[in-house]
Point group: C2
Chain length 311, copies 2
């Protein structure tokens, strides 16, 4: 990861001093680096440890694109904090955040173009397109109280899972895996990505995530699986109370707490956890044909982390 971090920093260098000051700032507030980890672990498992310069490059491309979307999210969500530092947005304003995001995005793409890495380029470009579509689908549908589970899963597949799918696909492509292996790893990443987002959405109903309050999604009228399930599995009277709570009382902390308690009592959490574990199981079944190795073990540890994490 140290070698990767050095290469990642190098990949952002620009002739424009302002850009270098900002990217220096971005590197300091680095996150969990789950995405590059998936690139490396898949590459290692598929190649039995023989990953290449292309793997480092693939991980840098993924991290450039992921960072670009975080920077753009700062504009999008107008959030003041991310990863524990002040957001780029609060410090440098929207104007610069849009441009820096565009710069990082094009640097990521050029990194593959400059090395004629067209397999990797295709995997990442599909992810970029689907992420923006997923976010827009979320804006359009996620606040509708009659949202179906199918639409919920389509949103999280596009906005979150598609990039983790690209990580795993790129990890495999970077070690010249077969088309079949690349497709299998892409699917593996997609399933894990969906589980990852379900876990993220669960945090809003449980106290597990450190330092993050619950009930934010309800306050913002954002429908996620625990609530969607509950709305479709309660009496008409309870449903009316829920809809009224979400539409008209979502700023009332006590009422939001009551909604959370009702979701818990109705089995919404268990149902969601069971769904998440189904995705995990499906993902793990795709690893069956790969022989046991220290690399595969590390990948399994990552998969468990996605499900068990407290943050």
């Amino acid at each position: 990861m140290e070698i990767f971090e050095r290469k990642f920093k190098e990949s952002m260098v620009s002739k424009v001093p302002l850009l270098n000051r900002i990217t220096h700032f971005i590197v300091r507030r680095k996150g969990k680096q789950m995405r590059p980890m998936f690139v490396f672990l898949v590459a290692k498992m598929v190649s039995k440890g023989n990953f290449t310069e292309r793997t480092y490059r693939g991980a840098s491309i993924i991290e450039l694109i992921h960072t670009a979307t975080l920077v753009h999210d700062d504009v999008v969500d107008d959030s003041n904090r991310r990863r524990g530092f002040f957001s780029l947005n609060a410090l440098w304003k929207n104007k610069i955040a849009v441009l820096v995001g565009d710069y990082l995005l094009s640097k990521g793409l050029l990194l593959s173009i400059d090395h004629d890495d067209f397999d990797i380029l295709k995997l990442i470009s599909i992810a970029v397109k689907e992420m923006s579509e997923g976010e827009l689908l979320q804006i359009e549908k996620a606040r509708k109280l009659d949202i179906t589970e199918d639409v919920y899963f389509e949103i999280i597949r596009q906005k979150t899972a598609t990039l983790i799918a690209a990580c795993c696909g790129i990890g495999a492509a970077s070690v010249n895996a077969s088309d079949e292996d690349i497709a299998t790893m892409r699917k593996f990443g997609e399933l894990i990505g969906i589980a990852f987002q379900i876990k993220d959405d669960l945090f809003d109903y449980t106290d597990a995530q450190i330092g993050k309050p619950t009930g934010i999604d309800i306050k913002e009228q954002k429908m996620t699986l625990p609530l969607i399930y509950t709305l479709n599995h309660c009496s008409k009277k309870e449903k009316n109370w829920l809809i009224n709570s979400i539409k008209n009382h979502n700023r009332d902390k006590k009422r939001v707490k009551e909604v959370i308690d009702f979701v818990k009592k109705s089995g919404g959490i268990e149902y969601t956890i069971s769904n998440m574990k189904d995705y995990q199981t499906k993902a793990l079944s795709l690893l069956q044909n790969y022989p046991d190795s220290p690399y595969k073990s590390s990948l399994l540890t990552m998969v468990n982390y996605v499900i068990e994490r407290k943050i």
Copy 2:
């Protein structure tokens, strides 16, 4: 152009209904379409009229990327109007504008990736990177009163000329021109693009552009060639007066008018026009080796339009 417009519309289609409503809205407020015109005219001149499906695709890619930057500009500049309609930003908010820009950008790139058009992809990706760098360079340097002509030209080369360079390079690449032809056309587009931006900056000092007030750049303390020249070619006393006017009195309409008059009197406009014409001449010299044809004549008409336009 009719066939192109149909293909361009098709290239934006998404599964997300919200996106289709917005892109429908974008297509309605279409601009001068100067960029696709350059793609077609260069392709026609180089191929002697035999342009191909790739030319249409190249033009669509350019227009997708250009539209993406316009949509992102709406966030960037917080401007309320563009192309005579309300901006996307004012109607749909920043959140959506960033995502729609990202979507159009990735659709443009995927259009070339899906057809294995890697020459075109490389030309356009460089342009995307340079445009964001150019805008950031402008933010960093263009309000400094000691900005040099070199920095001014680097800003306009990156933020404006690089995309017109890509148009002309892609026009040539789309008809399987030689690497030399592609490089020549790229350079031709860059020179014309610089002339185009110089003309744009001149509008702020002349009354030529219909419906646009003068003095906006001075009000925003944005240094362009007429003013940079004047600051470097006047007495120390006049320079102090100019600096004081720009720094401390740039909201005073009468004072801004006095600055414009001083720039005119000092030869700043003539110098800028002469520079613009030099770029035009250099651009035209690159066309000398291409035989006369109706296609070349149309391209020359476009070049004159860039310099002579009133809007």
